[in-house]
Symmetry: C2
Subunit: 570 residues, 2 copies
């Protein structure tokens, strides 16, 4: 029997969690979109508890955050609670690159994995289409205004936008790892083929529209947010929005289906809502507000995952998603593995695809003690937001009892509510039985979100405060960053929360500083506003928004077999 | 009551045409993909008759070919026959540009029009993704081979492809009208951001993968065709295929759902299969072989539409689609309007969006007599392929009885089987009642396809023959074209049929030569092989494969209203 033999028809999954057929928009037998009108219908129902899954600082070894998010939702069902998982949609780029898909695995996997990892219901393609429509519209307007010159308004009846071709900030997007598109020249040769200028592509997950899809409260809110998106500056230095270009309506129309979250199931038939997949550096790294709003009245527990470590996606959940939506977690689950904590010690330089040093794989409590400091930092970071924190040790075969005992003791010392081993990959919900019981208890505790700064705090102060939360002595603002702050204040957008755009590979902004860095500064190069998504991107280091393909990319091994089944996808 | 109130659930439409639920992959309430395994299940059922709808030389006034294809399928149902329409999927580019959608209109429209004109089930997005994956893979390989130099094979275990960066023929694609992407430079600056080179985007409908989707017989055939696609040349001047790059399997996997045709319905609940949308100049301009194979055993009549005039899509149906698939029309329906024949007279210079001269709109038999020659040519062209030809006059309110009587007499003189007025826009199937009866009679006639050339004919002879079919004195082959012919013979691909890439706006290759041009040559600039689709593109003039947006593009008027409904889409 394969895992897929256990799948239930999506209507049965919907029924399990109380979604009537009238709200279901089927996409094949095992996937359905849920019409967001269900939110209004369920608005008087009591909301379940939200469990936010985060992790220690990521390592090339992988921590298993997605698998534990899915496994925990199975575990809560296993102990008799109604649970739904809310996760992000994987991007095609990594699927054909090196990382593979993001369906979880083993007995804690979303099925059909192929559907999740490939097009799903086309939401990411819809974002690509909406984003690039704005680009085409912008370049077309630039072309026609230049071509018609002073006659533009007389001939078209339209007001000139006077787009500054050197200050177009809306790049194009594509859902592939394609380094050759990072820096391009468009309109080469000019004339009938547009206006020549520098441009570039980002991967679609980096589109502001992805963040908007994840943060919008409903269709009308999405429409307004898209209207506010800043595309470019005009030659007077003023912003040009999607509303100014009269393209925001058409962009919204392209996202009208994408706004409905996607219902799937795990190996154990636990319902999963998949919706949106924003980056956790230049965006806020969490699945959608709408999916949470759909799920919370339907379940006792909703388990959701934030991108990267607690310094990234979890921080952004509170400072961005919570501030905007009011959606409040009841506890934080912090995923770690013994191996990745040893790796976090910084004693070894581990690279993806290369052999793992034996000190990492064999029992070594001394090494673990060093790297455990990283776990301690993340426990305290999560607690600083007012949350009870449960550490989930994603168990690997080589982990020794001594190592696990040490971690449990250490986590409790650091203030964790509980620390429990998780074996969801091998055992599914059964493997998260004890973990789930801790989660239930933690959620019974009264908790209140504590935010590190207030909307009305000075922008520069917010940045200093966040730098200090990462352990930095201070943030150094470049001249450009200081100018950007003044511009954002001028635009009266300085009340927006920060989206710290830094490496996820260190608590600091320097990927080479491992474990718990101390005695460092954070250099802020520049700021930029995602006016539609509603946050200010604060850049501490270069962020890669268009990955490349390696020398042995996954696509080489993906094919159909003689029976037409997909092989090589993982 | 709106048109949409009359919609049946897609399961009911499927039932009407004998598609069991087991073959249905629903995408919402009104669209379903039909699993192509139904072809095998129905292989012993007798096939219905195929009716191929074409038109006179297109004019800016529009002839109403799609509306008549849909209306004729309704008409055949109206007179008690089982009929299915098979049409192409509209591209997003024109939807947001100037042309609008391609759902038909009035009482001869595919519903829901918004679904058809926007993403439908994501087939075009899947083609974009598969196509651009090959581009990303190609540029990545170029980069890694250049970066690692002589060490490439030692470090990667892969054979060098030695891609000639100046002879990469696989451009990127996007489903938008975006002139700034026609000519671009990628990898600007080189280094970690790829290899700098000239490139460009085409609209997705121009992708060879679109033609492959439309011509593939099944999934395995599609896989093989994708493997044969020529992406580039190496530095020795030999071809590099998608198989060589090891990306053909992954491309196929991205198209695994797209290969299933999409079932929808007309205003009158006639089943419609929508599948693929290749251009009718650089590709063959017809909906898919698979859709026809699904539809033929399910219906008495399958009505399908070929792109542009009979010199373009119809010619390519016979020379490309029929040759490859054996799918055989029983008659040809030639759509014309009184106005567009007057326009074809060449006496007026009519431009889209500008006022129509009153001579065109008022009764004017003398003017019509001149332009009717164009109808005569298309009748004889269709007859030359062995088909009975029925002329459908798409009636407009201003058409006089005298004009219609003249056309009927003229068409019969020219050898048409029948000539009948069609009023499907206003009346639906009722408006094609008489036309449908003629179609039934024509299909009862014995007919046999006559092809103008044989596969084994010399490539240069095939070109001369096609030029003469257009009325040219001869084809002039440039030096490049002669070299291309030699190369194609060298590749042993000269047995493939021609795909004449010329303007649709004239029977000749010069859009300025109206009506029935005589005493002209056709200049062939170059040839190129679509080895996966299986045809040789013969270029007679520049073909625009990336449109641009005008000064008053449709997107400006598309939005959601207060109730969240789409407005401004047509």
């Amino acid at each position: 029997m394969t895992k897929s033999d256990q799948l239930l028809a999506i209507e049965q999954i919907a029924q399990k969690c109380g979604i009537d057929n009238e709200y279901l928009i089927p996409h094949g037998k095992y996937v359905a979109k849920v019409d967001l009108s269900i939110i209004e219908a369920n608005k008087h129902k009591p909301a379940g508890k939200l469990v936010l899954v985060t992790a220690i600082t990521p390592t090339p070894l992988g921590e298993g955050k997605t698998v534990n998010t899915i496994g925990l939702s199975e575990g809560l069902n296993y102990i008799g609670k109604k649970a739904i998982a809310c996760i992000r949609q994987p991007s095609l780029g990594p699927v054909f690159g090196v990382k593979g898909g993001a369906a979880g695995g083993g007995l804690a996997e979303v099925l059909p994995m192929e559907t999740l990892n490939l097009h799903l219901t086309g939401d990411i393609h819809a974002i690509t289409a909406a984003h690039d429509l704005a680009s085409a519209a912008l370049d077309s307007r630039l072309y026609h205004e230049e071509r018609l010159g002073e006659d533009f308004t007389a001939q078209t009846g339209l007001k000139r936008l006077n787009i500054d071709k050197n200050r177009i900030i809306w790049k194009r997007v594509m859902d592939h790892n394609d380094r050759a598109l990072r820096h391009i020249t468009v309109g080469v040769g000019g004339g009938l083929n547009g206006v020549e200028r520098s441009d570039g592509f980002e991967i679609t997950a980096a589109s502001e529209l992805m963040a908007i899809l994840a943060l919008a409260n409903d269709l009308h809110d999405m429409r307004k947010r898209i209207g506010r998106v800043i595309l470019a500056y005009n030659t007077d230095g003023n912003i040009i929005t999607a509303e100014d270009l009269e393209v925001a309506g058409a962009m919204t129309v392209l996202l009208k289906n994408a706004i409905n979250p996607n219902l799937m199931q795990t190996v154990e038939n636990t319902p999963v809502l998949i919706h949106a997949g924003p980056f956790a550096n230049i965006a806020h790294g969490n699945s959608s507000v709408i999916a949470d709003r759909v799920a919370l009245p339907l379940a006792d527990y909703v388990v959701t995952e934030a991108g990267f470590g607690s310094d990234m996606g979890m921080e952004k959940f509170f400072n961005i998603k919570y501030r905007q939506s009011g959606i409040t977690p009841s506890c934080v689950v912090l995923v770690a593995t013994v191996r990745s904590l040893k790796s976090n010690s910084g004693k070894y330089n581990i690279k993806p695809g290369q052999p793992i040093p034996k000190e990492i794989s064999e029992s070594n409590v001394e090494l673990l003690k060093i790297g455990a400091a990283n776990l301690g930092w993340h426990i305290q970071n999560a607690k600083s937001y007012g949350m009870p924190v449960i550490v989930a040790i994603n168990r690997f075969p080589h982990d020794s009892d001594e190592e696990l005992a040490f971690l449990q003791q250490y986590a409790l010392q650091q203030g964790a509510f509980a620390c429990e081993v998780s074996e969801v990959f091998m055992k599914g919900g059964l493997g998260a039985q004890a973990l789930s019981q801790h989660v239930v208890k933690a959620c019974e505790q009264a908790s209140q979100v504590k935010l590190p700064y207030q909307d009305q705090d000075k922008l520069a102060d917010k940045i200093q405060l966040m730098a200090k939360k990462y352990g930095a002595n201070k943030a150094n603002l470049s001249a450009q960053a200081q100018k950007d702050i003044a511009d954002i204040e001028q635009l009266k957008l300085d009340h927006l929360p920060l989206c710290m755009a830094k490496t996820p590979m260190s608590i600091s902004a320097d990927p080479n500083l491992k474990n718990v860095p101390t005695n460092f500064d954070i250099d802020i190069s520049h700021l930029a506003v995602s006016a539609g998504a509603g946050f200010i991107r604060v850049y501490a280091g270069n962020i890669m928004t268009m990955p490349g393909l390696g020398t042995n990319p996954s696509y080489r091994h993906i094919d159909i077999d003689d029976n037409g089944n997909i092989v090589g996808l993982s």
